[in-house]
Structures are given as C-alpha cells and as structure tokens.
Amino acid sequence: MSQQISVRIDNELYTATEGRTILQVAADNGRSIPTLCYLEGLSAPGSCRLCLVEVAGVGRLLPACTTPARSGMSVTTNSDALAHNRLMALELLFIERNHVCSVCVSNGHCELQSMAQRLGMTHVHLPYNFPRLPVDVSHPRFVLDHNRCILCSRCVRVCDEIEGAQVWDISARGINSMLVAELDRPWGEAQSCTSCGKCVQVCPTGALVEKGQAVEEMTKRNRIVTDLAVKRGART
C-alpha cells in the first residue's frame, strides 16, 4: 500500500497518498487551482504555467500539475504574486493569436475565456500579435482554426495516449510553434486519423471544433476522455 503523507495547502492540513501531485491533492480536498494544459487522465506537460504555486522553502514557483506532494510540504495556491503571474501567463496566451470571442463557435463554452473571467482579466497590457494563421477545413467532420489554438497539446496527448493514432504534434518552437497533423498535412489527408473526435472534445478553446456549428454552439465533453482514461487505469 502506498504511504500516507500530510501536506499543508493554504494553511489546511490534509492527508494524501504519496505520489499524487499538489494539484490532485488539492482537488481531492475540494480546492481548485487554475489549469489549462492539464486534463485529468492525460499526462501533464506543465506548459501553460497557470497552476504555479508557492512551496515554502523553495525559491521559485512550481507547477502544481507536475509537482508531487511531499510529506511536510507547505503549499500556497493563492497570493498577490501568484495572481499576478497567472494573469500574465493568461495575457500572453491572449495576445499571441487571434482570440475573438464574439465570433467564436466556442463562445460561452471556452476554457480560455472562462479562465479569463475567473482570474478577473479585464484587458491585456501588451500589444496583440495579430498573426496571419490558416484555418484547416479539409477534414470532413472537424475544423482546426490555428487562430484559436493555445498550444496546450491536449489534442496531441489524447491522440497519442488514449486513441493511439498519434496524428498530432507541435512543430517548430517558440513563437513559430504550430500544431501539425503528420508531416504538416491537411488534416483531411492524414491517413493515421481515425476521426474519433477525441482531440475536438479535449481542446479547451474553439481551435478544434465540429463542423456545422454557429457562434456559441460548440460545447465540449472532455469528461468522456477522462472517464475512458480512468477505466483504463490512469491514475487520477
């Protein structure tokens, strides 16, 4: 049996199973830490930096989604500095591409949008990039709109870890990073795609959506993927 440890989160003492992340321990005890790239049931890349927390005695912020809770740890999930950091990370996501909620099929059902509301983002402090990005409509059932992609890699991971098709990956790096199907093929020509639609369901924004949806109509069910992962024995 795994060992039980005690962890302090925001001054409350909790008992947890060793090996669980700070994020999981917090969630087990009804505490929600902001996340975007993380999705229960998939591996955690720790890339969005929204879940950063303070750990007493550690001189830098740590991502809650990838940091295992340790016995005697004292974690702070909310402080002015953290709020500032999270807002900054979120603003950088917003300025990078073209997130125009009013014309988006996912308006009202978008994790990026709700995160902005949750963190109280009213405006951004940096100029928008306004990149010119393509929209891939080559797939018979789905659309990939790069303008709305935040490069969270959930689609890459679900396709690899749950579906096993490995259609997606992130190409290049830095500001030039782009989601690609196979060798940067139009999605509709990707022979490894099984058209299962799992990537669409886990995409937090309107970047991957079903065809035939009008503004505000696209709702997602990422719970399906988490449940599937749990059935297959993922540690959640």
């Binding site: 490995q166 259609v167 997606w168 990956d169 992130i170 290049a172 790096r173 060798l183 022979q191 490894s192």
Partner: protein, 178 residues
C-alpha cells in the same frame, strides 16, 4: 488504409537510408542521428518530405513526431540548400553592431525582398538557381567579434560592408560548385 508510398525523392539513396536505419534501430535518440545522417548524405543537404515519410514507415515513429523534431532543430532543412551558405548572426551583440544592415545588404545583393523578411529573427532563403542560401543565426557565441558572419564555414568577425563585398566578389568569381 493504403500504406504510405515507399519511394524516395530524387537525389536520395535508398540503400544509404536503409543502412542508417538498420544501424540506429532501437537506440535511444535514434531519430536525431537518423535525420542528421540522412540529411548530410543528400547532395542538397535537406530532408525531402518523401524521405521523412519513408523513415516513418520503416521506423514506425509517428510522422507528426518526425516533423516536430525536424522543425524544432535549426540544423534540419526541409528545403534544398544552396551550394554556398552565408549565415548572419542576429543575436543581440551583433544586432547592436549593425548585423541587420549587413543582412539587408545580402538580401538585396541576391535579389530577395527586404521588407518584412529582414525583421524575422529566423530566416532561411535560397536563390532560385540553388547557388546561395542566406540564413540568420541566433548567436555564434563569438559576441566579442560582433558583427559575425559565416561564409561557407569560414567565420568572419568585425564584419563590415567592404569586407562582405570582397567575399561576395570572391564567391562570384568561383566556378559554380556542384
């Protein structure tokens, strides 16, 4: 599902690729070594998409993964490279010492448009005749010699317009190298 075509782009040697694949099979980090050796073997020093597809079919490494690796490292080229290469450092030290102007001069000399393109920090362009590739580099690590330019593997520090022009003239004199 039809299997991907197993032919290589012209200029690539089937046997060579198979050989590399055989030697690297199963080694950790094999993909990097495979891509590097295959690219080096190509007369135009690049990785045609057909080759990547072939490597994917043979190794069972997902195509998206191969593409991701091939585009992550500046070392790999997906376009045919010129017979000559000039690399201009666009790092901070070289930028403050005028590397941008030198790069613009080169772009103009070889007939590329200079607006917009000269601003991007990562640029690789090859002349239509395949003679010259111009590329920007993030930093050569020779900042004390800024601005630094590399002409066919020879590094020039404290580069200025007259010296650059002399090198360009020398290149123009050369027999075209095949």
């Amino acid at each position: 599902m039809p299997s991907p075509p197993l032919q290589l782009a012209s200029g690539l040697d089937h046997e060579f690729v198979d050989n590399v694949l055989g030697k690297q099979q199963g080694r950790p980090g094999a993909l990097l070594a495979i891509l590097q050796q295959v690219q080096n073997h190509h007369p135009r020093k690049y990785l045609p998409l057909e080759t990547l597809e072939y490597i994917g079919a043979r190794t069972r490494i997902p195509l998206a993964r191969i593409y991701s690796v091939a585009t992550f490292f500046a070392l790999f080229n997906l376009e045919p490279q010129g017979r000559n290469t000039i690399s201009v450092c666009r790092g901070t030290a070289c930028h403050t010492r005028g590397s941008r102007d030198l790069f613009v001069k080169l772009l103009m000399y070889y007939g590329f448009r200079t607006e917009g393109d000269a601003e991007t920090d990562q640029l690789v362009v090859t002349t239509a005749d395949g003679n010259m590739t111009l590329r920007t580099v993030a930093c050569f690590g020779q900042c004390a010699l800024a601005p630094v330019i590399e002409v066919n593997h020879a590094i020039f520090g404290h580069m200025n317009e007259p010296t650059l022009q002399r090198e360009l003239d020398a290149l123009a004199q050369q027999e075209p190298r095949i």
